[in-house]
């Protein structure tokens, strides 16, 4: 016993002594000119495997043995910096990195330690803003989601749309966040463009496999979009004018080195262009806008405050006028006015408690709403007027408080932990009708049915902890655990979600990674269309519908033996439980009042192999990705979904090839190209004729018969898009960029929709389908000024 006590004492003293011999270096890594913090910058101890990365706010902390040390700071697209230090006590070092003169080459984020090849986690990709700007875009609208579609394991949904279907998951299984706040409606113009304005963005990180424990609530992917903080030193901005929209970004200091702002706006003007070409009695109008604003204030080296605001909205208007009667004495005016969009606001406070403990507190609000107003006004001779109007609303309102901590006790450990509480308020549908008949002098008012009559409140609580642990210089392990609670409709669901990532540096050139992630999802998007509709409704789970769950296993090998090149292969298997599908024939309803009765709960599985060959540096950069994938769903025999037979999931495509090439001819001219190839996606087509029996009179009627859900493979799709940028430095220190893009350059007739061919009399052809191509070859141009 005596020996044991003595031994323990010696151990405690040794540990304490060991702690006493360590010092912590911490601080922020920022751009040397703008003081914009750099997220995910690498900090390494030269000659050692010790190192860390800056977090989402640019803060890093590294605990080392006291004494001499050389620290290396690096970040993609920036000149690395080395500092020789004599460390005797805890030290704060804020480092500024200078951007490389790369002839503006596209930065491919491959050498990062929190994303990409060197990260412990798998399937984590940082997409640089330059990459987004250099991806040829539809109508010149550079788009983060369209860039993500080019990554292996990502499907685009309906051809030409900015959908996101990751590793066999559904479209509502992606958590897309703007400055940490989930965005419910992520697209404009029925899914053609996302709501993210490239000029406002600082960094986009995409997760599809190893999900950090702090991210929860969706099954298949996380897209974390961070906006620019604003230049602390200089005023500068960007202005772009394109075919569809114009964009403006302006940022600068309010108080130098203390307070900065960033303001971005985008608005479309298609309606104004098209209005003169519309008929007199019919007027359509469509516009959208996005507004990003951010204030950043540095109280001290230890305290910072960020205030972020985003508002985006789509507006669709239609107005018609009919006249009839012998002398056109009757007039009817009718139309719709629809607008929908998100408003997000967040306030974040960064506080450094100690050099090893960084904290971030966030309060945020998120509001999505859609309003559809219809009207019909009939005017008859004698002043008789009949007016009818209806008002349909759908909304979600979230209030969130979140606390996140980064604790770096030793170089081998980076511990992240925190908690979040969200109060959701869903109001999926409410509707009111109003009738006014003025001829009789009688006013009739109907404001009746609201479905449901009140909002659906839900409470979500989340705790998480994760340790990025370097076991040996070649072996890293990241165990994580998230625990979530969701209370709705008098029922509380809980989910324990373990995460584990392992990275083994086999040789200098070869790395092997493995990952396991468990995810839970508590809300669903009710959608029945292949395109994003404003009428799609987010609804929470109910007491009868359990949360969706997913378990994903991934394994990958990576080779970096060729300088500037990266080769990887990743395989995954995803097991999905409690997934929802509309029962056969039910999707058309699309209302939320009794939505749980329209869906069935089943299982799914997805598996795939993803190959990636990427060139990271030089005049020509880009990648070639190939994905072999399969995704299916299965429901019970009595579920009303495909008679219980397994079926291919929507947008299940067996083969996908994506080629991205960015080439710099000179300082003035660069050319970007993408080529996407998908083998045919699964679709439901009535291939035979059968009968149905009328339940009232027992008569038979011949109808087209669908043997199975997603029984048909559409033709393959392939799209080449090109973009040419011509730059000119102007005398006023501004830069002018002309971008000419061609979407679908060789005019491939890809199927956007498919339906049975009809003849001139409305009869259906028994052996032909009509393939509808929405996006043929579309050239566009954008003029941008940067100053």
């Amino acid at each position: 016993m005596k020996r044991t006590i003595l031994g323990l004492l010696i151990l405690v003293v040794a540990v304490a002594n060991s702690r006493a011999q360590r010092v912590t270096v911490s601080g922020y890594v920022a751009d040397s000119l703008s003081r914009e913090t750099l997220i995910g910058a690498t900090v390494r101890v030269v000659g050692s495997s010790d190192g860390t990365t800056s977090n989402s706010f640019g803060f890093y902390s590294l605990t080392l043995p006291a004494g001499e040390a050389v620290l290396s700071y690096s970040y993609s697209g920036y000149q690395p910096a080395e500092l020789r230090l004599s460390l005797q006590r805890d030290t704060v070092i804020n480092v500024s990195l200078r951007a490389k003169d790369l002839m503006r080459e596209v930065v491919v984020e491959a050498d990062r330690t929190d994303a990409g090849l060197y990260a412990t986690g798998m399937g984590i990709t940082d997409v640089s803003i330059s990459q987004i700007e250099h991806t040829p875009a539809l109508l010149g609208e550079t788009d983060v989601i369209r860039t993500l579609q080019l990554l292996p394991g990502v499907q685009s949904g309906t051809n030409g749309m900015a959908g996101l279907y990751v590793r066999g998951g559904a479209g509502d299984e992606n958590l897309i966040m703007l400055d940490g706040v989930p965005v419910y409606k992520v697209d404009h113009l029925f899914g053609f463009f996302s709501v993210f304005t490239p000029e406002a963005m600082k960094k986009v990180t995409f997760y599809k496999s190893s999900f950090p424990a702090r991210y929860n609530g969706r099954l298949s992917s996380i897209v974390d979009v961070r906006t620019r903080d604003g230049d602390m030193q200089h005023y500068h901005g960007t202005a772009s004018i394109g075919l569809l929209s114009s964009r403006l970004n302006f940022e600068g200091p309010i108080i130098k080195d203390r307070t900065s702002f960033s303001l971005s706006a985008r608005t479309s003007y298609w309606s104004w262009v098209a209005r003169p070409f519309m008929p007199e009695d019919s007027k359509f109008g469509y516009t959208f806008y996005d507004l990003n604003a951010k204030l950043n204030h540095r109280f001290s080296d230890r305290d910072r405050l960020y205030l972020s605001f985003y508002q985006g909205q789509d507006r669709l208007k239609s107005n018609f006028e009919d006249q009839w009667g012998a002398h056109d004495e009757y007039t009817e005016r009718y139309g719709d006015n629809m607008h929908w969009g998100n408003t997000l606001a967040s306030l974040r406070w960064n506080h450094i408690f100690t050099d090893q403990l960084f904290a971030n507190a966030t309060v945020s609000t998120n509001n999505y709403r859609m309003i559809l107003k219809s009207y019909d006004k009939e005017m008859a001779p004698g002043g008789a007027v009949e007016k009818a109007s209806s008002n349909f609303r759908s909304s979600i309102h979230d209030m969130t408080a979140q606390f996140d901590f980064d604790y770096d006790p030793r170089p081998q450990h980076r511990i992240q932990f925190g908690a979040a509480y969200t109060r959701h308020s869903f109001r999926p549908e409410s509707m009111s009708n109003e009738i006014l008949e003025s001829a009789t002098g009688k006013v009739q008012l109907d404001t009746t049915y609201t479905l449901p009559a009140h909002s659906i409140p839900a409470d979500e609580l989340m705790f998480y902890a994760e340790d990025n642990w370097r076991l040996t210089p070649t072996l890293q392990l990241t165990p994580g655990l998230a625990y979530t609670l969701f209370h709705v409709d008098g029922t509380t669901y809980s989910a324990l979600q373990p995460r584990l990532s392992l990275r083994w540096q086999v040789t200098q050139d070869w790395t092997v990674k493995a990952a396991y992630s468990e995810m839970a999802q508590y809300i669903h998007l009710l959608t029945s269309m292949p395109i994003a509709m404003p009428t799609d409704l987010w609804v929470p789970i109910t007491r009868n519908i359990k949360p969706e769950r997913a378990s994903q296993f991934s394994l990958g090998a990576y080779f970096t033996g060729l300088k500037g090149w990266e080769v990887s292969v990743e395989g995954y298997y995803k097991d999905l439980r409690n997934v929802l599908e509309y029962r056969d024939g039910m999707s058309f309803f699309g209302f939320s009042g009794s939505w749980e009765n329209l869906v069935a709960v089943g299982t799914g599985r997805a598996a795939g192999l993803e190959f990636l060959l990427r060139k990271n540096s030089g005049r020509t950069t880009g990648w070639l990705a190939y994905t072999l994938a399969k995704s299916t769903r299965k429901f019970s025999r009595n579920s009303g979904v495909n008679d219980g037979h397994r079926f291919p999931f929507t947008f299940d495509r067996r083969h996908t090839i994506n080629l991205v090439v960015n080439h710099k001819f000179s300082k003035r001219i660069d050319l970007d190209g993408t080529w996407m190839f998908h083998s045919g996606e699964a679709a439901t087509v009535a291939t035979q004729k059968g009968v149905v029996m009328n339940p009232d009179n027992g008569t038979l009627k011949e109808v087209y018969y669908v043997p199975s859900r997603n029984n048909y493979r559409l033709p393959c799709s392939h799209t080449l898009s090109l973009g040419l940028n011509v730059r000119k430095q102007l005398k006023c220190k501004a830069e002018r960029i002309w971008n000419v893009s061609i979407y679908n350059a060789y005019n491939a007739m890809n199927p956007t929709l498919i339906y049975r061919k009809t003849d001139d009399w409305g009869g259906y052809s028994h052996d032909k389908l009509t393939k509808f191509t929405l996006l043929p070859c579309i050239p566009s141009f954008t003029l941008t000024y940067k100053w």
Binding site: A388, T687, K689, P695, V703, M749, T773, P776
Partner: protein, 346 residues
């Protein structure tokens, strides 16, 4: 510069045009399916089953199928075919009772196709009572095609239902059968109305759009003078509903029977499609207990036949109708019914 912008703009606008092309349907490996259809009632002495083979170009009757009926695991009957006005049907004379487990096996004579359906006959609804019919004038109907452009006199039919206890139940409000009636027939504008008295059985069209149970909470006001009554809603023509809103208790239904309707299905000596105006009569009001799968089948069928859904060209794609047939397709419903008579008088 100005010229360049105008040129680029015009090129962009003129080329942004969607295209359509025809492609052949690939049907390689498509198998024909044995398709069974029928609505079999525990209260009918004879039930009829249609046996059809799906096909790439057309569906065809199966002439000499072997149809065998088992009840609660015991073989009861090998059915014979009969060709009536509605085509070939296999007659099932085996009586069923609520709670019986019924299995019907169908095999083609060449033995290549075999399909079966197996269901439990549901329990009839606990009670129907307090049925009344009152004339209302100038009722604004949602027409058969879902538009609010029809106004006329109607019988407001009210009925109280008592739900079965301790179970999730699915029901169908069948179109009321007008068993005897006095009608006015519109004959000629100059001669005016001619009164006829007939004894017929006519399924009456009914408007249930204001009934919260039949519309499952999504009622539609007849005063809504809008072309589309409500977003994504489909009028419940087949009258299927659940007990979700009145589980283990009672509820009232309210539907409207238009006085003016077509006799296209009536067994009368009128020309096809003759329009008559109901003066008085007796209606048989029936509520059928159906299975859960039939509830969803009829909802899907209703949607596929609704005017707001455009078969094969709707963005949602073609509707796949659910099936309870193993080894084949189609739907065979099993019902237990309860009826009550209602006097219709102006």
């Amino acid at each position: 510069m100005k010229k360049t912008i105008l040129l680029l703009l015009s090129v962009a606008l003129t080329t942004t045009v969607a295209c359509e092309h025809d492609i052949e349907i690939r049907t390689n490996g498509e198998q024909q399916q044995l398709s069974l259809h029928g609505y079999l009632s525990a209260d009918s002495a004879v039930n009829r089953l249609a046996v059809v083979m799906t096909g790439l170009k057309q569906a065809t009757d199966v002439h000499q199928a072997r149809v065998e009926v088992c009840v609660n695991g015991e073989f009861r009957e090998k059915c014979k075919a009969e060709v009536g006005e509605e085509g070939r049907r296999y007659l099932i004379t085996t009586p069923f009772h609520p709670g019986d487990r019924v299995r019907i096996d169908v095999t083609t004579t060449d033995g290549k196709h075999h399909a079966y359906v197996e269901e439990t006959v549901p329990q009839p609804i606990r009670a129907l009572k307090d049925v009344t019919a009152q004339l209302v004038q100038e009722h604004k109907f949602l027409s058969e095609y879902g538009y609010t452009d029809e106004t006329g006199d109607a019988f407001e039919l009210k009925l109280t239902l008592a739900d079965n206890l301790g179970s999730n139940d699915y029901y169908r409000f069948a179109a009321p059968l007008v068993e005897s009636m006095t009608v006015h027939r519109y004959f000629d504008p100059e001669e005016g109305y001619i009164e006829d008295a007939e004894s017929v059985v006519v399924p009456a069209r009914f408007d249930c759009t204001q009934d919260p149970i039949l519309m499952e909470g999504n009622t539609i006001k007849p005063s809504s003078d809008l072309d589309m009554p409500t977003i994504g809603n489909v009028i419940n023509r087949y009258g299927v509903f659940t007990d979700r809103l009145f589980r283990d208790s009672e509820a009232s239904l309210c539907v409207y029977l238009p006085l003016t309707f077509s006799l296209s299905h009536a067994d009368m000596n009128y020309d096809y499609g003759t329009v008559v105006t109901l003066q008085s009569g007796v209606a048989k009001v029936t509520v059928e207990s159906i299975t859960e799968s039939e509830y969803y089948y009829l909802k899907a069928l209703n949607t596929s036949e609704s005017e707001t859904y455009d078969e094969n060209s709707d963005l949602t794609g073609p509707i796949r109708l659910p099936s309870n047939v193993h080894g084949g397709t189609g739907y065979v419903g099993f019902r237990a019914t309860k009826s009550i008579e209602c006097i219709l008088a102006k």
